[in-house]
Amino acid sequence: MTITAPRPHPEEQPSSAEAPEPVLEVEGLSVGYRVRRTLSPVVHDVSFRVLPGQVLALVGESGSGKTTTGHAVLGLLPENGEVLDGSIRFRGQDLTELSARGWRDLRGRAIGLVPQDPTVSLDPVRRVGVQVEDVLRLHTDLDADARRARVHELFELVGFDDVERRARQYPHELSGGMRQRVLIASAIAVEPDLVIADEPTSGLDATVQKQVLDLMDDLRARSGTSTILITHDLGVAADRSDLVGVMRQGRLVEVGPTAQVLADPQHEYTRQLLASVPARLELVRDRPAGRVPREPEVVVQVTDLVKEYGEVPAVDGISLEVHRGETFSIVGESGSGKSTTARVLSGLTEATSGRVRLLGTDITSLTRKEFRPLRRDLQLVYQNPYASFDPRFDVYDVVEEPLRSFRSGRRSLRRRPEDVAAVRRALEAAALPASYADRHPRELSGGQRQRVALARALVLEPQVLVLDEPISALDVSVAAQILELLDSLQRDLGLTYVFISHDLSVVRAISDRVAVMQQGWIVEQGPVARVFEDPQDPYTERLLGAIAGQRLATPSTRAGAR
């Protein structure tokens, strides 16, 4: 599985190197975790090589072993983890035989890490400048002034202006993207030969993700640092890497030059992953313009909606209409007000001003009690299904709950046959076997849990579903299945969807019409094809430009032949 013909990085190819020495060479690596005396291997026989200046992207879904592989290279396996077999050679030195002291010397100096979650990876009570300086203090002989100067230089390098002020700030004063830049600055502070970036952008907005990844590209081009980019996002891998390794269940199923793997995937799983990329889903093509009736019936009408928290408007005067049977998407980055809009629609938050008409009823003046009858027709699906289930409930109880809420008269503890039948129907509609009713949600995978949440939403046979980021917590192939399910449910049941998402490629795949929100405003709305192909607002353009995986968006000839 070793790469035989690595593609040299175009702008970074040193002239002298006819056969450049690899920076990192991993051979037959197996890693296991010890749980209660039994050792279970999680990474099997992984081999790859990274040449100077190259970016290797390790892609895979959660639990595929990609992070474990990255941590093994850094010697950061948890207490119960150990390298079982194989070698990790860094510049010819075998890292598996290194002592704790040897590791300390190597980490930060020769191998840098950009961690996964910038919000928790900085010490909250120390200034960010000092935290970057730590690396310099450990690995260089620079005096205090020289260190400070270097920190400022680094902050400039990662794109901060007013670097002196930034260095004096605390993490909570910085946004997620800025914190990630600080972490990148400390990872590259002493110019390591290799940087391991573990999902460096997974919690960031699309435009911020683009900035951070651009920055990493830029730094690499300047210093010739090799990078291992661990990501679940095939789009990011496609855009940013020279080599790509696809991991599944602890095995590296395919590795090779990125362009080649994308154009001509050899392994079945790689093909499946590629097919799951939202940009390649073929739902769009199944949507004839005539499916929505000529005279659209308005089911949700929002007029001049304002919602303020304290003095701050989260939603600042938006108007929109959702028609029966369509998917209306609200897309925007964090803080744009899209989730607040969803909460007002679902009667969880009161509007400050403006009108919201739901199926002909003005809901802005309703009390919670008066809203209850409407909940039969409008249900909500959450981003994190597991949190939306009572931890004591099994699947049956979860799905049955809406039925119970709308049952009049005496309540019995026994399961009523008509409820059992309705729960069974709902589970089957959500493509789950009826036998799952007796399971507990914690025994289910993320995708199955979201199906249970869908079954709960469907059990009352509502007309409108508000879907708040329903797939953003799911792996790409599972997300694709849920999208397909949503699409077929809409077709069969005539459902109307209000779809809230930050992910433009998903929105493009499933929506009829879309509204783009920024800071409480709708900057642009219209049919999805028009908005995506001919954006009128500069913000929409910026969002579209930031979609990762542009190289994936045009399916190759091979992908069409699935």
Binding site: A387, S388, P391, S445, E484
Partner: protein
């Protein structure tokens, strides 16, 4: 693509959390086993004292006063010749019932106040919580003594006083549990699926607050035993001649230099029971967090 849909995701091999019975858990852990055994024996003392001792705890025998422990009188006899072992066994009933009443009052009053404060919030919350702050700012035992003086002496009055004093702790816990449940996504999901307020309280909030309450109950039970024994020691709780652990300690006090067993055995009993309930409570808490 449709092929993907038809392959159901493989069920995760995560078995449900093991539901081990307390007995089986006890077998794996000697400290827990011992604690359960101590509490079990003391409970039996309270329910069927006749099984453990043939002596009448109230029978005075002047010929046999202040005898040291022997085969006939395991814990010796007191200044009136009453069998101390028998008095400890029979005293369990007063001590345990007193503690149970105390904890019951605490749970009842505390949960009611806590649930009111947590669910309604705002003004109700402020009033209830300030009241509780006042209660917590007074040293607990002093407050209990004051209440007993107001209510009158006796084991039952002592139990009510201890219960009211410790209800503040329960109110705080229940309030925070209710607040947590209120803010949780699953309660919000219940609202969106149409559940009424009473449905939500009954089906989600109360059951999910039970587990943490249970571990506080066991801790408070131990505390209540000590407090009630202390009140009885001061003469505010159980009245003579009824046996009660705190009173036994008080009665033996005059002879502590020469007839140490009169205080020793009741004290050992109190310490053993309180340590056991604390240990059980600790296990319940750590199981919950496991």
């Amino acid at each position: 693509m449709s092929a993907l849909l038809q392959t159901p995701e493989a069920p995760l091999a995560v078995p449900g959390r093991e539901r081990t019975s307390l007995v089986r858990a006890a077998a794996r852990n000697w400290a827990l086993a011992l604690s359960v055994a101590v509490v079990g024996v003391v409970l039996l003392w309270a329910v069927v004292p006749g099984l453990f001792t043939g002596h009448d705890p109230l029978a005075v025998d002047p010929r046999a006063k202040l005898l040291p422990p022997s085969g006939e009188h395991w814990f010796g006899t007191d200044q009136l010749g009453r069998d101390v072992y028998s008095r400890v066994v029979h005293g369990a009933r007063a001590s345990l019932i007193g503690s149970a009443v105390a904890v019951g009052v605490a749970v009842l009053v505390g949960s009611l106040l806590g649930a009111l404060a947590g669910w309604f919030g705002g003004f109700v919350d402020s009033v209830v919580m300030r009241l509780i702050d006042v209660v917590l700012s007074i040293p607990g035992f002093l407050l209990a003594i004051t209440l007993v003086v107001l209510l009158g002496f006796g084991i039952f009055q002592a139990a009510i006083a201890v219960g009211l004093t410790s209800s503040a702790t329960f109110a705080r816990l229940i309030r925070s549990e209710v607040l947590r449940a209120r803010a949780s996504t699953y309660v919000e999901a219940a609202i969106t699926s149409g559940a009424s307020t009473s449905d939500i309280l009954r089906r989600h909030v109360v059951p999910n607050s039970l587990a943490p309450t249970l571990s506080l109950i066991t801790v408070q039970f131990g505390t209540a035993i000590i407090w009630i024994a202390s009140l009885s020691f001061l003469g505010l709780g159980a009245q003579p001649p009824d046996p009660e652990w705190g009173r036994l300690v008080a009665e033996g006090r005059s002879y502590i230099a020469t007839r140490g067993w009169l205080t020793l055995w009741p004290c050992v009993t109190i310490v053993a029971v309180v340590l056991s309930t604390n240990h059980i409570s600790h296990r319940i808490t750590s199981r919950r967090h496991a």
